[in-house]
């Protein structure tokens, strides 16, 4: 808090609350004030000097107005206001001039009211803005009270201050009278939003203004609807007809709903379960006579009271009033229970109020577990077991959070055990990596099926382990291995080779070499790579692949020669295209040589040759070829190919040589419908006849059509 504090010490400190959070103001030995408005975001502000202040002020307080925090202090008969920049003297309105020196001051819980006590026993009560006086009171006690605090209640117009001397308590307000109590012991006052707590060595009392609902009901001879309802219920229990009279009285005034509400509200203010019950009973009784009374307020009150009664139990010792509880909220109450390690009660409250598990039970169990892992006297097994016993599969529990806590406490083994229970691998894996349990992380990642996690661990392992161990680790995890292979395929191809080598996967090694042969620029390089592939394929006992690759090498070498001889690109053509190009260029002998060397099947060679010749337009050579021996593919392909090249003349030459079964088709192709018709008629085949007919046009092929129709009719007759 800076040098000043170190040098001058802190004389006094006051805690205050603003909309920014909790603040602290201090008074140093040099009689200077400093404050911060938010202890979570500590920015210490030094307040201006108070002129002529030589000794500590007799009393001071922190006020907040319009988001500005100011200090009010009293020195003798003077009041000073310190804001950020200046110090000014103020006089409260309506202050009696003979009041004397200020001894004590008090700010109300909500910072709205201010009370000042002077050495004449005079009390001034007004607004904290110092712009208005509410009332004054003369206590006739001249000594300074030990404490002075405000006693108010939200939404009540009554305001009073409570003053405590050694054995005396005084309540003073807007009245000439005051209330006095005798204190049996040394006591301490704690202001609350709805009253004042009075703590002593043996007792804990609460002083507050009686809420209106309670007053109405319990005031002597009250005729308020709530009071009547309570009475009616009591009479009803006694089985007296008066119950009806009372009820009628309320109903006549149409005040029954109000009576019920009053009873419910009043029950909240009671501390004795018996009184709470009788009020609630009255409310419940009254409800029966109302058509549609929304049940929520009643149910809610019963629940709240049950929670309140349980925390008010002396073993728990949190005597909250209803108002305080509502202001605090259940969540904060649960936090406090957790802080006091009252886990079972907290859980029971969650269950009773049916809070969603994630915000309720799970959260508390997690807190419990985080506390549990810090118990060093228990073994890891015991703790892990105990935690899992309790937590089980409770939704919303993050075992990894608990494990992280255990790891922070230096209990790595325990953390690992706890992580076993974590169902979300996404949470498990990073922590395991942090704890350097990469192999475990790897198997967890694989279990999850999330390949991204697996990749993450694998790359982590790659950096962490030496290459040999890394490969060995992958060896036992096929999923990781195949993912790593994919990674290598894109990022580092050479590693891929090492991986296959380690597995003795010769097939893949062969494929690898084939693949890399295509990135070699020089032919020797390619042949070299392919030769490697051949070796690997043999090792893999894949004779076919080895032979094929040997053929490929042979072809490559041949193609290089062809390229040199004919000055034409041959490299990388397939065998088919190489031969085809040779024929198209008229190198028939060379083509013939390849056909024999590579054992191209006859059928395919014939197809290849005639289409190449047709492309070249070498019809003469084609005719020669067709007569060289009996065609293994028949003669229809000759017709087809010639037609495809729009050479009907050539096509016609081959049509008669086509086998009888295909002859019709061949004649149709060459456009000789008459011959086609003759062939079809000769076959006595109706389908064929129809086919021919479908090609005929009525105008030009009349004769053919007639002939066919006649033949068909004859066929049908039989």
């Amino acid at each position: 808090m800076g040098n000043e504090v170190l040098q001058n010490h802190v004389l006094e400190a006051k805690v205050f609350h603003t909309e920014y959070g909790t603040g602290v103001a201090i008074l140093t030995g040099a009689h200077r004030f400093s404050l911060t408005t938010n202890i979570d975001d500590l920015k210490l502000r030094r307040m201006p000097e108070v002129p002529g202040l030589q000794k500590p002020p007799s009393c001071w307080a922190v006020l907040t107005q319009d988001r500005v925090t100011i200090v009010l202090l009293a020195v003798g008969q003077d009041l000073y206001l310190l804001d950020n920049t200046s110090c000014s003297v103020v006089t409260p309105p309506g202050m009696s001039p003979s009041a004397g020196a200020y001894l004590q001051m008090a700010v109300s819980f909500n910072y709205r009211c201010l009370a000042l006590f002077t050495d004449t026993g005079y009390i001034w009560m007004g607004l904290a803005t110092l712009k208005d006086k509410l009332c004054e009171f003369n206590s006739a006690i001249r000594s300074a009270p030990k404490q002075m605090v405000w006693c108010t209640r939200p939404r009540s117009r009554q305001r009073a201050v409570v003053l405590a001397w050694d054995r005396q308590l005084m309540v003073a307000g807007n009245s000439t009278e005051c209330i006095r109590f005798v204190l049996d012991e040394d006591s301490y006052l704690v202001p609350e939003p709805d009253g004042v707590r009075i703590l002593s060595r043996t007792s804990h009392e609460f002083l507050h203004e009686i809420p209106e609902a309670s007053q109405e009901i319990f005031k002597i001879a009250s005729m308020a609807p709530g009071a009547l309802l309570l009475e009616a219920q009591k009479e009803y229990e006694k089985e007296s007809q008066k119950a009806d009279e009372y009820l009628r009285e309320i109903k006549d005034q149409k005040l029954l709903p109000e009576a019920v509400s009053q009873c419910i509200e009043a029950a909240g203010y009671e501390h004795e379960p018996e009184t709470q019950k009788s009020l609630l009973r009255a409310a419940s009784f009254g409800k029966c006579f109302i058509d549609k009374f929304p049940p929520e307020s009643f149910v809610r009150m019963c629940q709240d009271l049950r929670v309140l009664n349980s925390i008010r139990d002396y073993q728990i010792g949190i005597p909250l009033t209803f108002t305080q509880y509502k202001r605090l909220t259940v969540e904060v109450l649960l936090d406090r229970l957790v802080l006091r390690r009252l886990y079972p009660l907290a859980i029971r409250i969650c269950e009773y109020l049916r809070l969603p598990e994630i915000q309720g039970v799970s959260r508390i169990l997690a807190h419990w577990a985080c506390y549990k892992v810090q118990q060093k006297d228990k073994s890891d097994e015991e703790v892990a077991y105990a935690i899992n016993q309790k937590l089980g599969d409770t939704p919303g529990i993050s075992y990894s959070e608990i494990a992280a806590r255990a790891y922070d406490c230096g209990r790595t083994e325990l953390a690992i055990k706890l992580l076993e229970y974590e169902p979300r691998s996404g949470e498990q894996v990073p922590l395991l990596l942090k704890m350097k349990r990469s192999k475990l992380a790897l198997s967890k990642a694989i279990e999850s099926g999330d390949t991204d996690l697996v990749y993450t661990v694998v790359l982590h392992l790659k950096n962490e382990l030496n290459r040999g161990t890394f490969f060995m680790t992958l060896q036992n995890q096929p999923v990781a291995l195949s993912l790593y292979r994919q990674f290598c395929k894109h990022q580092e191809r050479e590693t891929l080779k090492d991986l296959y080598n380690q597995d003795d996967n010769h097939q893949e090694l062969g494929n690898f070499h084939v693949h890399s042969s295509y990135s070699e620029k020089r032919i020797e390089g390619r042949v070299g790579a392919l030769q490697n592939a051949v070796d690997e394929y043999y090792k893999a006992k894949n004779e076919f692949a080895a032979k094929a690759t040997e053929d490929q090498i042979k072809l490559l070498r041949l193609q290089r020669h062809l390229q040199e001889d004919f000055d034409k690109p041959y490299l990388d053509l397939s065998l088919h295209n190489t031969v085809s190009t040779l024929i198209q260029d008229g190198h028939h002998k060379k083509a013939e040589q390849l056909y024999r060397e590579f054992k191209i099947p006859d059928k395919r060679y014939w197809w290849l040759k005639i289409s190449a010749l047709a492309t070249r337009g070498d019809w003469e050579e084609m005719e020669k070829f067709s007569k060289s021996k009996k065609s293994p593919i028949g003669y229809l392909p000759f017709v087809e190919i010639a037609v495809k090249h729009h050479n009907r003349y050539e096509a016609k030459k081959y049509a008669p040589r086509v086998t009888p079964e295909q002859r019709v088709k061949a004649f149709i192709l060459v456009g000789d419908l008459e011959q086609a018709a003759d062939a079809a008629i000769e076959h006595k085949n109706e389908t064929e006849m129809n086919l021919v007919l479908s090609k005929c046009s009525a105008t030009t092929d009349g004769a053919v059509v007639e002939k066919l129709n006649r033949a068909r009719a004859q066929l049908l007759k039989k």
Binding site: E357, I358, S362, D393, P395, G396, P423, R424, P430, S448, G449, D450, T451, D452, L453, Y455, T456, L459, P478, V479, S482, L483, R485, Q486, F487, H490, Q491, Q507, N511, V514, H515, Y518, F544, A545, A548, T549, D551, Q552, L555, D572, L573, S574, L575, H576, F598, I600, P601, K603, R604, W607, L608, S611, I633
Partner: protein
């Protein structure tokens, strides 16, 4: 606009609405004008959740595609990266951010939205590059199950099959489980989970685990789904290999449907005005959205293509009759009524025109000889004819160098229908493919083998015929016009996955234990406890939902639902798109 999502038995608008809300909330976190830098892969799926107008309402002024280098100029307060959590993409973002910082006076704020999951790995990567601190908001957007249509959700995870079976990377399964958890949060806990296959088992396990991770929130929504069925793709490899024959299926086969959009050759869609002499033929492909919001499409999408023509011509008659009516409209009231219907009629007419054009485009292909031959071979294989020897047609196709995908589909189909190929046959095909299409495909073939699409027959027994007979996968009497069995979608073959779903509904899987054992992976059943009060007393709603892909849509039709029991089933599996080459 979202009518197609609420038309099904489960109102999926809620799911999309949840998605939009999440997006809006994120955008509002970044106050001021924004530019989005897109991982291009994500634009399609996002389009199904929110249109540009939604982004615009939340001050998104510019959109860029993620690429290395300096970010384009844009006078905005925020730059938001929408990316998948991938390291390659993180490197690009790093590059973008590094180049940005120098010498710009009004600072721009950076944010990352990871889709679908925030990644520790990526964040660590960015941290190592020293740019993690540049990002103010790093969040995730759980885009898992995207509502496609009233009865279809998809993860649009194109490479899921490849990742799971080839690379043993089960990331997509994790996302699937997460997505199903989201679905349950919105539509209630699904009391029964059935599944078949390793991946299905894994997903179910993760779901149970995830439920345990968040036990606090008891789901108090009355369950909309009775049953969840999880199927591994590799339980039914056959279905995606065969050529789809429904209208929608053929559009997908030929032109490919991406995020419900299809791009078509423009010629057929040229405006009808011929005055210009055809000079203005559009060159841009015609882009059409296909979903059940379009009345006509909803009617024909799942019909066998052979049954589409008659519907279209019937519709044409109805529409022209409706337009004719204007001549009969005499009184002012009648004319008014006619005019009020006009917009609807015009929409119907243009819809009809579009689909007639599409059907013509498809017809050109389906009537070709090659399409017919290909189909014949497929059907022979599926009905178990000559699956054990080298097929002539396939050989010829290779010799003529047809597209490799077509060849691979056929060879794999044969392999699946024969429970693997004999060594001699397999080697022959492989050699033919390598010699014709190039030796680099040795890797392609190896990948197919690893994924199980292509395999060597071991153990000597082919169990496909048993599976086919027990599950009635091949139906000889198919009614394409008025189908009474799902086999109409492939004109004979009934998709295995659909049969599994049907048999689960009635009489239950116990009747097919033997066959289930022949299919890969375990089959299982899990029950999820419902809070008391949410348990259904008796099945009352007839509800079935099936992902519609590869012509599986029929099951949402009333006939089928009535025929196979009154339970609501959510069927879930990944339907592989064009996955024939997992290279």
């Amino acid at each position: 606009m979202a009518a197609h999502l609420s038309s099904g038995r489960v109102n999926l608008t809620a799911l999309r609405e949840a998605g939009r809300r999440e997006l809006r909330e994120f955008l509002d976190k970044c106050a001021g004008s924004k530019a989005i830098v897109w991982d291009e892969y994500l634009t399609g799926p996002f389009g199904l959740i929110a249109q540009y107008s939604l982004l615009k309402e939340h001050e998104v002024e510019k959109m860029f595609t993620l690429k290395p280098g300096r970010l384009p100029q844009a006078d905005v307060r925020n730059i938001i990266f929408f990316v998948r959590p991938r390291l390659e993409l993180m490197d690009i973002i790093t590059d973008n951010v590094r180049r940005e910082d120098r010498g710009r006076s009004p600072q721009r704020d950076f944010h990352i939205l990871f889709v679908p999951r925030r990644s520790l790995l990526c964040e660590q990567w960015l941290k190592e590059q020293g740019v993690l601190g540049s990002f103010i908001h790093r969040e995730q957007y759980s885009l898992d199950l995207i509502p496609f249509d009233g009865d279809l959700l998809s993860m649009e995870s194109e490479s899921a099959f490849k990742e799971c079976y080839l690379e043993s990377d089960q990331t997509s399964l994790y996302h699937a489980a997460k997505g199903l958890m989201t679905l349950q949060a919105l539509y209630g806990t699904i009391p029964q989970i059935f599944g078949k296959g390793e991946c299905a088992r894994h997903v179910a396990n993760m779901m149970i685990r995830m439920k345990r991770e968040f036990p606090g929130s008891q789901n108090s929504i009355f369950p909309v789904f009775d049953t969840l069925l999880l199927l591994d793709r590799n339980v039914d490899l056959l279905t995606p290999l065969a050529t789809q024959l429904t209208y929608e299926g053929l559009i997908d086969e030929i032109y490919g449907i991406q995020n419900t959009y299809v791009k078509l050759p423009p010629e057929k869609f040229a405006p009808k005005k011929q005055g210009e002499g055809g000079k203005d033929l559009p060159t841009e492909p015609k882009k059409l959205q296909l979903n059940s919001a379009e009345e006509l499409y909803a009617e024909i999408r799942d019909k066998n293509f052979n049954a589409v023509g008659s519907v279209l011509s019937k519709k044409a008659k109805i529409i022209s009759a409706a337009f004719e009516e204007r001549h009969h409209a005499k009184t002012v009231g009648e004319i008014k009524q006619f005019v009020s219907q006009l917009p609807h009629m015009q929409a119907a007419r243009s819809s009809l025109a579009n689909h007639t054009s599409i059907a013509e485009l498809i017809k050109d292909i389906t009537t070709s000889e090659d399409f017919f031959d290909n189909l014949t071979v497929e059907q022979e294989f599926m009905s178990g004819i000559d699956t054990d020897k080298v097929n002539n047609y396939i050989e010829d196709c290779i010799a003529q160098k047809h597209s490799l995908i077509k060849i691979l589909r056929l060879v794999c189909l044969q392999s699946v229908c024969n429970n693997g190929l004999k060594q001699k046959v397999l080697d022959h095909y492989k050699r033919e493919i390598l010699q014709t299409y190039g030796y680099e495909h040795i890797l392609t073939l190896n990948n197919l083998e690893k994924a199980g699409l292509l395999k060597l027959q071991t153990g000597g027994r082919n169990n496909y015929p048993t599976i086919r007979k027990t599950l009635r996968l091949w139906m000889d009497d198919v009614n394409e016009q008025n189908p009474n069995d799902i086999s109409y979608v492939y004109s004979g073959y009934a998709p295995l996955s659909v049969r599994l779903a049907q048999l689960l509904a009635r009489p239950g899987w116990r009747s097919i234990e033997e066959v289930l054992k022949m299919l890969p992976g375990p089959h299982f059943e899990e029950r999820q406890q419902l809070p008391t009060g949410l348990q259904k007393k008796q099945p009352e709603i007839i509800q079935r939902n099936f992902p519609r892909s590869r012509g599986l849509g029929l099951l949402s039709q009333r006939t089928q639902a009535a025929a196979s029991g009154s339970r609501s089933v959510l069927c879930y599996g990944w339907w592989l798109g064009r996955q024939s080459r997992p290279c």
